[in-house]
C-alpha cells in the first residue's frame, strides 16, 4: 500500500509541474514573438522576493486559498460554482455593514460577522442551487448571472448605506470599530520586515482542515464525493442527489462568503467600491491547479500570490506590462486541465496493467481453481 501511495503522489505531482513548465515555455515564446526582453522578464519574475513581498504573497494566498476551497467544494460534487465572485461580494458587504455597526463588543462582533458572511454567501449560492434542483438551470449559467446581479446590487446598496468621508470620492461602509479588527501576525522574528501576515490566515487554515475532514472522513463527505464521481451510482446507493446539490451549493457559498474576511478585518476595515475584484475567478484556477486537494490548493494559492507580487516590478524592470502574469496564469490553467487528463489516463492504464501483472504472477505460482462450489 505504501508503494501505491508513492506512485499516486508521483502522478499527482507530475501534472502541476508539467503545467508550470509548459506555461514557462509558452510565455517565453510569446515574449520572443513580441520581441520583449526575455531574460529581464524572467529575472524579475523569478528573483527572490523581499521579506515585505513575501508577507504580501502569504496575505494574497490566504484570500485565494479560501476562494479556491469554495470552488473545490463544488468541483468535488461536479458542480461548477463560477459564482464565488458574486457570493463573496454580497457576503463581504453584509459582514462589513453588520460589523461596522459595532452592536456587539470585540471578538463577538467578529465571530458573528463571520457567520453573517457565511450565511449571506450561502443564500446567494443557494439561489443557484434552488434553480438547479427545481428548474434544472445549469449552475454555470445561473452563477454567472448572479455575479452580475451581485455587482450591481451591492453597489446600489452601498450607495444607500454609504457613509460620506471628508475629502474623498470613495463610497464605503462604516469603518469597523477598533476593537473589531483582527491584528496581524508579526513575523519580524523570521523576516526583517514590519509587515504583518493577516490574523485570519488562521481562518484559511481552519477552512482547509474542515474541508478535508468533512469530505474525507464523514459519511456526508463520502456521499458528496460519490455523487461527484458518478451521479448514477450515487442515486443507486441511496444518495438524494437533489438535496446533495443544494447542500453543496450552500456549503460552497458559505466558504465563498469568507473570502473577503481577511481583507475586511485585517486590512481595509470597511467595504468600499475599491474592493479587490476577481478573487472568485482566481479561485477557480487555483482549485484546478491544486487538484481540489487542501494541500495542493495551498501551494497553488502561494504560486498565484507570488506571481502577482513579482509582476509589480515588471513594467519598471523589463518594460513589459504586468498583465503578462495573467497570460502565465491563464496558460497554467489551460495546461493543467490537459495535463491532469493525460496523467489520469496514464494512471488508470498503469494501474490496470499492474493489477493484471500481479494477478498473472499470482496465478503462475498457485493456479487458482475457477468458481465456487455450485
Amino acid at each position: 500500500m505504501k508503494r501505491l501511495d508513492w506512485r499516486r503522489a508521483g502522478l499527482g505531482l507530475a501534472a502541476p509541474v508539467l503545467a508550470v513548465v509548459v506555461a514557462f515555455v509558452v510565455t517565453t515564446a510569446i515574449l520572443l514573438l513580441a520581441q520583449d526582453p526575455v531574460g529581464a522578464v524572467w529575472g524579475q519574475l523569478l528573483k527572490v522576493p523581499l521579506p515585505r513581498q513575501l508577507v504580501a504573497v502569504f496575505n494574497a494566498a490566504t484570500v485565494y486559498y479560501i476562494s479556491a476551497v469554495a470552488v473545490a467544494i463544488g468541483f468535488r460534487m461536479n458542480l461548477f460554482n463560477i459564482g464565488v465572485d458574486g457570493q463573496y461580494r454580497v457576503a463581504s458587504f453584509a459582514a462589513a455593514v453588520f460589523a461596522g455597526q459595532g452592536w456587539l463588543p470585540g471578538w463577538l462582533n467578529i465571530i458573528v460577522a463571520l457567520l453573517v458572511a457565511m450565511a449571506s454567501g450561502a443564500v446567494w449560492a443557494g439561489i443557484a442551487g434552488l434553480l438547479k434542483v427545481g428548474r434544472g438551470v445549469s449552475e454555470v449559467i445561473s452563477t454567472i448571472m448572479l455575479n452580475a446581479i451581485a455587482t450591481y446590487l451591492v453597489s446600489f446598496l452601498l450607495g444607500k448605506t454609504a457613509v460620506k468621508v471628508q475629502g474623498s470620492n470613495a463610497t464605503s461602509t462604516k469603518s469597523l470599530p477598533a476593537d473589531s479588527r483582527v491584528p496581524g501576525i508579526s513575523v519580524d522574528g523570521m523576516l526583517a520586515t514590519p509587515s504583518k501576515v493577516y490574523g485570519l490566515i488562521v481562518l484559511a487554515a481552519v477552512v482547509g482542515f474542515v474541508y478535508w475532514f468533512v469530505l474525507e472522513k464523514t459519511r456526508f463527505g463520502f456521499d458528496l464525493r460519490a455523487t461527484g464521481r458518478s451521479e448514477t451510482a450515487a442515486v443507486a446507493s441511496g444518495v438524494n442527489v437533489k438535496r446533495m446539490v443544494l447542500t453543496s451549493m450552500l456549503l460552497s457559498g458559505a466558504a465563498a462568503g469568507l473570502v473577503g474576511m481577511p481583507l475586511l478585518f485585517g486590512q481595509d476595515y470597511l467595504y468600499g467600491d475599491t474592493v479587490q475584484s476577481g478573487l472568485g475567478f482566481a479561485g477557480i484556477a487555483i482549485a484546478l491547479l491544486g487538484r481540489n486537494h487542501p494541500i495542493g490548493i495551498a501551494f497553488a494559492a502561494l504560486l498565484w500570490g507570488y506571481l502577482d507580487q513579482q509582476s509589480n516590478g515588471l513594467q519598471i524592470a523589463a518594460g513589459v506590462s504586468d498583465r503578462l502574469v495573467l497570460v502565465i496564469q491563464g496558460v497554467i490553467v489551460l495546461s493543467v486541465v490537459i495535463a491532469y487528463e493525460l496523467v489520469r489516463r496514464a494512471g488508470i492504464r498503469m494501474e490496470q496493467r499492474r493489477v493484471a501483472r500481479q494477478l498473472a504472477a499470482g496465478d503462475a505460482v498457485a493456479p487458482v481453481t475457477e468458481g465456487a462450489a455450485v
Binding site: 500500500m1 501505491l4 472522513k217 464523514t218 459519511r219 456526508f220 463527505g221 463520502f222 456521499d223 464525493r225 460519490a226 464521481r229 458518478s230 448514477t232 451510482a233 442515486v235 443507486a236 446507493s237 441511496g238 444518495v239 438524494n240 488508470i348 494501474e351 490496470q352 499492474r354 493489477v355 500481479q358 494477478l359 498473472a360 499470482g362 487458482v368 481453481t369 475457477e370 468458481g371 465456487a372 462450489a373 455450485v374
Partner: protein
Amino acid sequence: MVANKDVEISVARGTVHAIVGENGAGKSTLMKILYGVQQPDEGTIAVDGTVLSLRSPTDAIRAGIGMVFQHFMLADNLTVLENVVLGAEKRHGIGDAARAEISRISASYGLGVDPDDLVADLGVGQRQRIEILKVLYRGAHILILDEPTAVLVPQEVDELFGNLAALKAEGLTVIFISHKLDEVLKVADEITVIRRGTTVRTVKPATVNARQLAELMVGSELPSPSTEESTVTDRVLLTLEHVALAGAATGNRALLDDISLTIHAGEVLGIAGVEGNGQAELVEVVMGMRDASAGTVKLEGTDITDWPVREIREAGVGYIPEDRQRHGMLLEAPLWENVMLGHQTQKPALGAGGVLVDARAVQRETEEIVRDYDVRTPSIFVTGESLSGGNQQKLIIGREMRQHPRVLLAAHPTRGVDVGAQAAIWGYIKQARRDGLAVLLVSAELDELIGLSDTIRVMLRGALSGHFDPDTVTREELGSAMTGATGPDAPADPTTSEKGLV
C-alpha cells in the same frame, strides 16, 4: 492475416471466423488492435499479405476493415440514409447517389434496409443490419462483429446468421467475436479460442462440441446452471400490485403497465425479455430510484412504494444493477470505498455518532469479501476500474450479500463476466435462494433463467406475461413471448431448442 506476439490468427477470405474467449481473455484488446484504436507492442497485422500499420480507425477503414460494435451508434431521429452517410459524405455524397448505393448493398447482401426509414421506428435486428451496412458502405471487405447476438432474440439471431452467409458468399470475410458457444458452432467456419491473451487453439466446428469448446476457453471443467429442489416457502417477501410507470412525455406508451408479481422466500422469479421492454424500469421502481405512477410495492407486507432508495436498502433489499459501471461502482474510487457504496448508513461503514465513516471496519470487511467471494485483486486499495468485469461483479455481490438482505434484485448478474465468475455468481444466487431470500432475476440469457428460476415471466412493452415453468418451457416459446409473436411462425430448428451451455 493477424499476428501478434501472443496471438496468431489467420483468416481466409470468404469465411466466418469466430474468436471466442472469456471476458478479459483479450478479445477486446485484439479487436482494438485490429481496428487501429490501440497499437500492438510487437508483431504485425497483414491483409492480403501486405503488412499494415493501423494507427487509427481511419487507417483500418482504408485497409478495408470495418467494425460493428455491440452497442449501436445510430442517431434515432435521422433516417437510415442520413445515418449511413454521416461521416462518409465524400464517398457518394448525401443525395440520390448515396441512396442508390445503399439500396444496391442492401439488395446484394439481402439486408432488407430501406434508406428512407426513420431509425427510431426500427427494431434491434434492423438496426444491427444498418450498422453492417454502414461498414460495407465505407468499403469494408473484412467485418468485425463484436458480440453481435447479445441484443437479439433467438429468431433475430437466425436472421443475422442468414445475412452473414450472404456476406460470405460474396467473398467478404467476417470475424465474429462471441462467448455464446452454441451460436459460434453454428455460424463459424473456423473458431479460434483465446485464453489470457494467447491463442489456445483454432478448431473446425465439426470437430468439437460446446462443452469441449468451453473447456478450452476456461482451461478446466465447468459447471452449468441447474435447478435444485424447490426451496420456495409460503412466506411472501416482495409483492408488486398493479404497478405502472408513465412514459416520459404524455402520449408515449407506459414504461410499466399494470405489473403485479409476488416472490416468496426461497424463490427465484426470472424475468425474460428483449432489452428495453421495461425490465430496467421495473427494477428501478422496486429500488425506489423511480417513483411508480400507480400501484404499490410491498416488502413483507410493508408498503415501500414511496420510500427513498436509502430506506429501501436499509430495510433489506440487495441490488445487483444491470449496468455495474454506472450504477454499481465508483470506478475511480478504491475497492473499499466501493464496498461502502449503498451501505453508507449501515454497519460496518457507520462510524462514531452516525456521522463519521469507519474506514478501518470497511477495509476489514473488504478484505473478507475479497477472500470469501474470490475477488481477484492485488489489494483493496486499487481502483474499481482496474478490476475485470467478473471481479467487479463478485465484489458487488459480496457487499450486497454480506448485509443479509431479505430481497435480492439481480439484473443481468453475469453480463460481461468470464465463465469462471459466471459459475461463481450462479452459485451465489442459488445460495441466496437456499438462504430464503426472494430473488428477482432479470436476464437476457435464457439458459441462465431456465437454470436458476423457479418461475419465469416474460416482459414485453412494459407488461408481464403469464408464468412459464422453467422445467418445461422451450427457448422458442420464450422467444415468441419476447417478440410478441403469436402462433408458430418461427420454424422449429432442432439445434436451437437444445439447451445450450453458456
